[in-house]
C-alpha cells in the first residue's frame, strides 16, 4: 500500500517536472519560430543598452568606472532576467485562460515556467559576458563555481514576486502598466550602470532595502573581481526569500480558486 502511495507520489513529481519542461520548451520554440533572429533578440536589447550607456558614461558624463563594458553588461543581464520574468508574469493568468480551465492543471507552475525561461536566456547570454570580461582583461578563477548559487537565489527571489503579481493582475488589469513604471524607476535606483560607492552615505540605507543590490554586488564580486561575495548580505537575502516565497505562493493560491470565475 505504501509502495503504491510513493509510486503515485513519484509519478506526480515526475509529471510536474515534465510539465515544466514542456511549457518552457514551448516558450523557447515559439521565440525561435517567430523571428529569424530567434534567441539573438534577447541579446540585442542589452547590447544596445550597453552601447548607449558606454557612449553616455564614457564620453558625455564620464563616470570613471574601470572595465565599464563588463561592469554595465553584467548588471544589465542580471536585471533583464528578473525584470522580463516579472513583467511577463503579470499577464500569465490572463493569457493562459485555456490552460487554467484544464482539469488538473496546476496554475502555480506558470510563474515558475516564466522565471525558468528567463534563466535559460540568462545562461545563453553568459558566453557573451565572458567575451566582454576577456576583452577587459579579467581572468576568471574558481570563485566562478559559486555562480549557480547566486542564480538559484535570484530564481527564487523572482518567483516570490512573480506569484503575487500574477494574482494581482486578475483583479486589476492595469498591473502590467503600473509594474512597467515601477520597474523603470527601480532600474535607475539599482546600481546597474553606476557603482554603489558613488551613492551618498545617507541614501545607502535605501539601497540595501532593494534585494537586487546585494545580488548584483555578489555577481560582480565573482565575475569582475574574482573575489568571494559578501556572505552576510547573501545570507540575509536568502532568509528574506525563504520568508517571501511562502507568502507569495499563499496569495497566489488563495486567488487561484477564483481565477476561473474572474476571467
Amino acid at each position: 500500500m505504501r509502495n503504491a502511495g510513493t509510486l503515485v507520489y513519484r509519478r506526480k513529481i515526475a509529471h510536474w517536472f515534465d510539465l515544466l519542461r514542456v511549457l518552457v520548451d514551448r516558450d523557447m520554440k515559439l521565440l525561435y519560430k517567430r523571428s529569424t533572429l530567434g534567441i539573438a533578440w534577447t541579446l540585442i536589447s542589452p547590447l544596445l543598452q550597453l552601447a548607449v550607456f558606454s557612449f553616455l558614461f564614457r564620453s558625455v558624463v564620464p563616470l570613471n568606472i574601470p572595465k565599464f563594458s563588463s561592469f554595465a553588461f553584467s548588471g544589465l543581464l542580471i536585471w533583464t532576467w528578473s525584470q522580463t520574468a516579472l513583467f511577463k508574469s503579470t499577464a500569465l493568468i490572463t493569457n493562459n485562460k485555456a490552460l487554467i480551465r484544464q482539469p488538473n492543471f496546476p496554475p502555480a507552475i506558470l510563474p515558475v515556467v516564466m522565471t525558468m525561461t528567463g534563466l535559460i536566456h540568462f545562461v545563453l547570454a553568459l558566453p557573451v559576458l565572458i567575451i566582454f570580461l576577456a576583452i577587459d582583461g579579467i581572468h576568471l578563477n574558481s570563485v566562478l563555481l559559486l555562480l549557480p548559487l547566486l542564480m538559484i537565489i535570484q530564481f527564487f527571489l523572482t518567483v516570490s514576486f512573480a506569484y503575487p503579481l500574477a494574482a494581482l493582475n486578475v483583479t486589476f488589469r492595469d498591473t502590467q502598466h503600473t509594474l512597467a513604471v515601477v520597474l523603470q524607476m527601480l532600474f535607475y535606483l539599482t546600481p546597474i550602470f553606476y557603482d554603489i560607492s558613488s551613492v551618498p552615505e545617507k541614501f545607502k540605507i535605501f539601497y540595501y532595502l532593494n534585494p537586487m543590490v546585494p545580488l548584483i554586488e555578489a555577481y560582480r564580486a565573482i565575475l569582475l573581481k574574482g573575489m568571494q561575495p559578501d556572505w552576510q548580505a547573501l545570507l540575509i537575502l536568502s532568509l528574506a526569500v525563504v520568508a517571501l516565497l511562502p507568502i507569495g505562493v499563499e496569495i497566489f493560491r488563495r486567488q487561484s480558486d477564483h481565477f476561473v470565475e474572474e476571467l
Binding site: D18, L23, A98, I100, R101, Q102, P103, N104, F105
Partner: protein, 690 residues
C-alpha cells in the same frame, strides 16, 4: 462497489461586485480601496448531490447559465467550492476546451507533447503513445507541419485524440463536442462508448435533451444552480422538455382544461399555448387518423374568433413523438393574409400524399399573429396520426420508390438476396444454408425474451455489468419480432458480445419476444440450441406499469379502465394477421396488450412446444428483487458462467406509479387467477402472485 465520483452537498458561491468596482490599481487607490468588497453574493450551485459509478454515464441538462459548466469545472478540480465535498477516484480526463493548449506556431508533433503533458501524462508516456495518437487522428503526413496549416477539423481530431489517449478513469465531456464533421462526431461517440464499457465514469453536460437521453444512464437537470430532477434519463428529459415548452410561451392565460375530439385534454401551457383571441375549437385529421404511407390526408381546423383580426396566420406541423418536426407549413407561405371576422370558421389543409415512415406522429395546429410574434392558439401533440408503411419503421421518409437494374447483373448468383431469409418452412434447404454460413461463434448463446416490464431491464443491466462487454450490441435489436426480414447475418452482427473467462458470449434481450406469436418458432428454426431466460412478474402490476409507460410515450390516451376494456377490440384479428402476413407489424399487438401479455401460461406453452424445459430458465421478478444475489447466481449457473465474483449491485427498481384503484385491482386479480393457476401446474412452481 467504489463510486468514481461522489458529490455531496456541493455549493459554490459567486460574489457580485458593484458596477463601480475599480478595475485598475489607480482607481482602487483613488476610491480608497473601499469598493473592492463584494456587494452581494449568490449561490451558483447549491445542494448538489450525485454519484457516478465506473461504467456509468451521467448527463447534466440545463439552460445556459444554469451552472452546468461551473459544476463540471468543480468536478475537474478547477476552482473551489464553498460547501460540500467532491470525491474522485481515478484519473480525470476532460473533453472540455479541445485543443486549448495548442499553439498555431508549433508543429502537430510539438503540440501533441504539450497537450498530452498538460492533460496529465509524463513525457515518456506520451512518447510511447505518440504513434497511436497520430494514427487515431489520421494525421500522419501532417504531423510535422505547423498547426496554422491545419483545418479546424484536423485540429479537433488531434485534440480529441490526445484527450482520449490519456486513459481517463473519470471523463468530463462538454457539449461543444458536437462540432466537427459527422464522421468525426461518430468517431468521438464511439470512443466515448468504448470508454464507458471499459469502466470509465463519464459526466456529459449538454442542453440538447435528445443527446442525453440517447447516451446516458442517468440524467440530472440543473436550474439556477439547483437540482430539479435526478434519475432515469427518460423521466428527467421528459420533465425538462415539458418545462422548456411552457416557458417559451408564458403569456398563455390559464384556462380550465377542455377536452378535444381526439379525447385528450387540452391543458394550458402543457399542450396548448396562446393568447386565445382566436381559438382553435377542433382539429380533424381526415379521412382517418390511421393511414398508410403515401395516402392523402386533409387537416381541418375549426376556429372561433372573439374580435375582428386584421390578419392571422394558420400553421400546421406534423411531428414525431420526440418533437422532431417532419413537415411544417403555414398560410403565410402562400403569400396571403387572412383577415378574420368575428364568429366561427373552418380552414382545411389538403396534403395530396404523405410519404412518412411508419410510426406514431402528431398533427399540431396553430393560429398566429400576423408577424408570427405570438400565437393566438396552438395545440401541440394532441391530435395523433399513425402511419403504416412497408419499409422498416426506423426510417422517417417512405417515398414511392423502386429498384431498377440495368445491364447484366447476375441476380441468380445471390440466392440469399433473391429468396428472402424469412422463409420459415422447416424443410427449406435454402434456409438451413444461411445458418450454416455463420461461423460458430456468431450464434447467440442466450436470449432474454421477456416479459416486458418484469425486471428484464435490470437483469440486462446486471449482466452487462458482470460480464466484460467487448462489443455493446445495439439495444432493441428486435430481430425475431420486428426485423426478421433483415436476415440472420445482419442479426449476428448486432449481438452484444461479452467475455467471460476465455469464452465469448453473444446475447441480446427483447421483452416483446415472449409474447409475439411467431418468435418461438423463428428462434427454434434459427438457433435451436440457444438458452432462454424468462422473467415473469405479477401480471396485475405488469399491466398497470405497461399502461403507464404507454401513456408516458404518448401511445395511450384512454384511462386505464377504458384501455383494458377496449383491449379485445384493439387486438381483434391482429394475431391472425401476424400469423398470416410474414412482415406484418401490429402496433396494437405490441402496445395495447395490457392483459393478454399477462397470460403467461399460453406464451410459455408456445415456447415449450419448441424448446425442452431445461433450455428455459423461468424466474419470478419478485424473487429477483427480493433476493438478487441468489437469483442472479442462478442465472450465471444457467449460463455456465463462474459466479465467483458477484459484485454488489444497487437495485434500480423504480416503483413510483400511483396505486391502482382497488376495485379494478380486484377484478384483475380474479381475471388472472385461473391463468396463474394453470401456469403453476404446468411448471410445478408457485406462480399465484397472491
Amino acid at each position: 462497489m467504489r463510486e468514481a465520483i461522489i458529490v455531496k452537498g456541493l455549493g459554490k458561491r459567486f460574489k457580485r461586485y458593484s458596477t463601480a468596482k475599480p478595475i485598475t490599481i489607480m482607481e482602487a487607490a483613488l476610491s480608497g480601496w473601499r469598493k473592492l468588497k463584494p456587494e452581494a453574493s449568490f449561490w451558483a450551485l447549491r445542494n448538489i448531490n450525485f454519484s457516478v459509478s465506473p461504467g456509468e454515464m451521467l448527463g447534466i441538462l440545463g439552460k445556459n447559465g444554469a451552472g452546468k459548466s461551473t459544476l463540471l469545472q468543480l468536478v475537474g478540480g478547477i476552482g473551489r467550492a464553498e460547501e460540500g465535498t467532491i470525491k474522485i477516484n481515478g484519473r480525470i480526463g476532460g473533453l472540455l476546451d479541445l485543443g486549448a493548449a495548442f499553439h498555431t506556431d508549433l508543429t502537430g508533433r510539438e503540440n501533441v507533447f504539450v497537450g498530452a503533458v498538460v492533460a496529465g501524462l509524463t513525457r515518456r508516456e506520451v512518447a510511447r503513445r505518440f504513434d497511436d495518437i497520430v494514427e487515431f487522428a489520421e494525421l500522419k503526413q501532417f504531423i510535422d507541419s505547423p498547426m496554422r496549416t491545419y483545418s479546424t477539423g484536423m485540429k479537433m481530431r488531434l485534440a480529441f485524440s490526445v484527450a482520449v489517449h490519456t486513459d481517463p478513469e473519470v471523463l468530463l465531456v462538454d457539449e461543444h463536442l458536437s462540432v466537427g464533421d459527422v464522421a468525426f462526431q461518430s468517431k468521438c461517440l464511439n470512443k466515448i462508448t468504448e470508454f464507458k464499457n471499459q469502466g470509465c465514469a463519464i459526466v456529459l453536460i449538454s442542453h440538447t435533451a435528445s443527446q442525453i437521453q440517447k447516451l446516458c444512464d442517468r440524467a440530472l437537470w440543473l436550474k439556477s444552480g439547483e437540482i430539479v430532477a435526478y434519475g432515469e434519463p427518460e423521466v428527467v428529459v421528459g420533465q425538462y422538455l415539458s418545462e422548456m415548452r411552457s416557458s417559451t410561451e408564458n403569456s398563455s392565460p390559464l384556462r380550465a382544461t377542455e377536452a378535444t375530439s381526439s379525447g385528450s385534454p387540452l391543458r394550458g401551457n402543457q399542450n396548448r399555448f396562446g393568447s386565445l383571441e382566436v381559438e382553435i375549437t377542433d382539429v380533424k385529421v381526415l379521412p382517418n387518423a390511421e393511414i398508410d404511407s403515401g395516402d392523402a390526408i386533409s387537416i381541418e381546423i375549426n376556429y372561433s374568433v372573439s374580435q375582428e383580426i386584421s390578419a392571422a396566420i394558420f400553421a400546421v406541423t406534423i411531428s414525431r413523438e420526440d418533437g422532431q418536426s417532419c413537415f411544417e407549413t403555414n398560410t403565410n407561405q402562400m403569400g396571403r393574409l387572412l383577415p378574420l371576422v368575428k364568429g366561427k370558421g373552418k380552414i382545411r389543409l389538403q396534403i395530396d400524399r404523405l410519404d412518412l415512415g411508419s410510426g406514431q406522429y402528431y398533427v399540431n395546429a396553430g393560429v398566429y399573429e400576423e408577424t408570427l410574434a405570438y400565437a393566438y392558439d396552438y395545440h401541440w401533440q394532441i391530435y395523433p396520426l399513425f402511419v403504416r408503411s412497408t419499409v422498416n419503421q426506423k426510417t422517417i421518409l417512405c417515398p414511392p420508390y423502386r429498384w431498377e437494374f440495368e445491364g447484366q447483373i447476375p441476380l441468380r448468383d445471390l440466392p440469399e438476396l433473391a429468396s428472402p431469409t424469412h422463409d420459415l418452412d422447416k424443410n427449406n434447404p435454402g434456409y438451413a444454408k444461411i445458418v450454416n454460413q455463420l461461423e460458430n461463434n456468431q450464434k447467440p448463446d442466450f436470449l432474454i425474451v421477456g416479459a416486458q416490464n418484469c425486471g428484464t431491464e435490470s437483469l440486462y443491466g446486471y449482466l452487462a455489468h458482470h460480464l466484460q462487454i467487448i462489443k455493446e450490441g445495439s439495444r432493441d435489436i428486435n430481430f425475431f419480432d420486428m426485423n426478421f426480414e433483415r436476415g440472420v447475418d445482419w442479426y449476428s452482427k448486432q449481438l452484444t458480445r461479452s467475455l467471460t473467462g476465455e469464452k465469448v458470449l453473444l446475447w441480446e434481450m427483447a421483452g416483446y419476444y415472449i409474447y409475439h406469436p411467431l418468435v418461438a418458432e423463428r428462434v427454434y428454426k434459427c438457433f435451436p440450441d440457444v438458452k432462454l431466460i424468462v422473467m415473469l412478474g405479477n401480471p396485475v402490476k405488469r399491466a398497470w406499469m405497461h399502461y403507464h409507460l404507454e401513456v408516458a410515450s404518448g401511445c395511450e390516451k384512454l384511462d386505464f379502465e377504458k384501455a383494458i376494456a377496449s383491449e379485445p377490440d384493439r387486438l381483434k384479428g391482429e394475431i391472425e394477421r401476424i400469423q398470416a402476413e410474414e412482415n406484418y407489424y401490429s402496433f396494437n399487438h405490441q402496445h395495447y396488450s395490457y392483459l393478454s401479455r399477462g397470460i403467461y401460461v399460453e406464451q410459455i406453452k408456445n415456447w415449450l412446444d419448441y424448446f425442452p424445459r431445461e433450455q428455459l430458465l423461468i424466474l419470478k421478478s419478485e424473487d429477483f428483487y427480493a433476493n438478487t444475489d441468489k437469483v442472479f447466481s442462478e442465472v450465471l449457473n444457467f449460463l455456465d458462467i463462474s459466479a465467483s465474483s458477484i459484485k454488489e449491485y444497487e437495485i434500480n427498481h423504480i416503483d413510483q406509479y400511483s396505486q391502482m384503484p382497488p376495485e379494478i385491482e380486484q377484478n384483475l386479480i380474479n381475471y388472472f387467477k385461473p391463468y396463474n393457476q394453470e401456469l403453476s401446474d404446468l411448471l410445478h412452481e408457485d406462480f399465484s402472485w397472491t
